[in-house]
């Protein structure tokens, strides 16, 4: 039986690991280039635009804080979509996608947390408050770490993926909490002024670098995500071949 026939009978022929690897090899250089380009443009814009009359220079923190905060949530959303793929279609690539996204999501959440803190000290006069937005992001961070730990604790990868998938989906309730916490509990944190119904309510002077940086960070996320997925596929391939080698040795010996 050849590989392709299995792939076609079992998975939609769009996405079997081998085909994914070929695709990744083709598009990764382009994505990396695009990411670098966006970052150059974004960084240039963010340091050349005017400071805010109210917030002064610190407004530049926004160009990092806001995109990474969005990506923190998007990372989890991607994991949730993958989780559905795992549970409903039992698709191995979905397993890989969820597993690869967790550390990336954690990293972006960490950046959002730390830049938020660094912004909070001059703006609110404190590094940290237990307000709803901040805490829910903190919880998101904990959940990323917990899911990474869970994945490591189970060594059968497909079982680990299915178990994590259930938790990922249950944990998704946190995402709307993050998004709407500022509206539900009136707190220190800014409420949405870009991603909201009725269009952005923010000066285009700030909107431009913000959007470019957002695109740059998003491109970075996807580049890394595809790379991490590729690594994971390779890792499993190595493990499978090692097992087979052990078994063959066992049989011959």
């Amino acid at each position: 039986m050849s590989e392709t026939s299995l792939a076609i009978t079992k998975f939609s022929d769009l996405a079997n690991p081998t085909r994914f690897l070929a695709l990744a090899a083709r598009i990764l250089p382009w994505m990396a280039g695009f990411t670098a380009l966006c970052f150059i443009m974004g960084l240039y814009l963010s340091f050349t635009t005017e400071g805010d009359y109210q917030q002064g220079e610190t407004v530049r923190i926004m160009y990092i804080h806001v995109p990474t905060a969005w990506l923190a949530m998007m990372g989890y959303t991607i994991m949730s979509l993958s989780a559905i793929g795992t549970l409903v279609w039992r698709h191995p690539l979905a397993d890989v996608s969820a597993k690869a996204a967790a550390p990336l999501g954690a990293a972006f959440t960490l950046i959002a947390l730390v830049t938020g803190s660094l912004w909070g000290k001059p703006m609110w006069g404190t590094w940290w408050v237990w307000d709803a937005r901040l805490t829910s992001v903190f919880i998101l961070f904990l959940m990323y770490l917990g899911l990474i730990a869970l994945n490591r604790a189970i060594d059968d990868p497909s079982k680990a993926a299915r178990v994590s998938a259930v938790l990922i989906l249950v944990g998704f309730v946190n995402i709307p909490i993050i998004k709407f916490s500022v509206d539900w509990w009136n707190t220190l944190h800014q409420s949405a002024s870009v991603l909201r119904l009725g269009g952005p309510a923010i000066d285009p002077e700030f909107l431009r670098p913000l959007l470019v940086m957002a695109v740059a960070f998003t491109a970075l996320f996807f580049t890394l995500h595809i790379m991490a997925m590729r690594n994971e596929i390779w890792r499993r391939r190595v493990a499978a071949q090692r097992r087979m080698a052990a078994r063959l040795a066992n049989r011959e010996g």
Binding site: M1, P92, R236, R237, A240, R243, R247
Partner: protein, 213 residues
């Protein structure tokens, strides 16, 4: 009434343990799985019971009226390596719980009769944890008698049983078959069943490539 499996394949971890397993058992028939340690007997039984997802293939049960059921577990008794009894509760409490949980059927016997049938009448008031290994196994077997299910899936049922226990077990299985039941058992010891089919498991099948390769 029959139980049929077509072209089953199952995976443990990342490896295919077996593939292309098919069988068909009519009412009153028995299939005995044999094979070396680690050859996949328990795996196959768990797939049939619906406790493990098969990689390919299907299992189905067709009852006397011709209705086909895919979830064979629902009409089966499964006796695994572990006895599914709580050592803190008494035997009677354990059996009574399973009888009520699995659903009473009028064709089934009472708890005392079941204990009698496995040769241990009169000690159902003891906590399950106080029994010897063989006594525990016998009561685990009594669980199959307290509610009627047409299919019995047994994993090394006679482990820890003494000679009289083996005999008793064979008789109970034969009685179940006479009533039209179907029996699927994995074993290393001869079970003493009349006219049972045998399926030899061979272990790891290497024909198909894995997902990651």
């Amino acid at each position: 009434m029959h139980l049929a499996a077509a072209n089953l394949a199952a995976r443990r971890g990342e490896d295919l343990i077996f593939e292309g397993v098919s069988f068909r058992l009519e009412s009153g028939e028995a299939l005995v799985l044999t094979g070396k340690n680690g050859s996949g007997k328990s795996t196959l039984l768990r797939v049939v019971a619906g406790l493990l997802h098969q990689e390919r293939g299907s299992v189905s049960f067709t009852d006397a009226q011709g209705n086909t059921l895919r979830r064979v577990g629902e009409i089966s008794h499964y006796l695994g390596h572990r006895n599914a009894m709580k050592s803190e509760l008494t035997v009677a409490e354990n059996l009574d719980f399973w009888r009520r949980f699995l659903g009473q059927t009028h064709t089934a016997v009472s708890i005392d009769e079941a204990a009698e049938a496995v040769g241990l009448g009169g000690i159902t008031h003891l906590p399950f944890g106080y029994l010897s290994a063989g006594q525990q196994r016998r009561f685990a077997f009594a669980k199959l008698l307290i509610t009627y299910r047409p299919v019995w899936i047994l994993d090394e049922p006679t482990a820890a049983l003494d000679a009289s226990g083996d005999h008793l077990f064979a008789e109970l299985v034969e009685a179940h078959r006479r009533k039209g039941g179907i029996v699927l058992a994995a074993t290393h010891q001869p079970l003493g069943l009349a006219e049972a089919q045998e399926l030899r498991m061979a272990g790891f099948s290497h024909s198909g490539p894995g997902v990651w390769e």
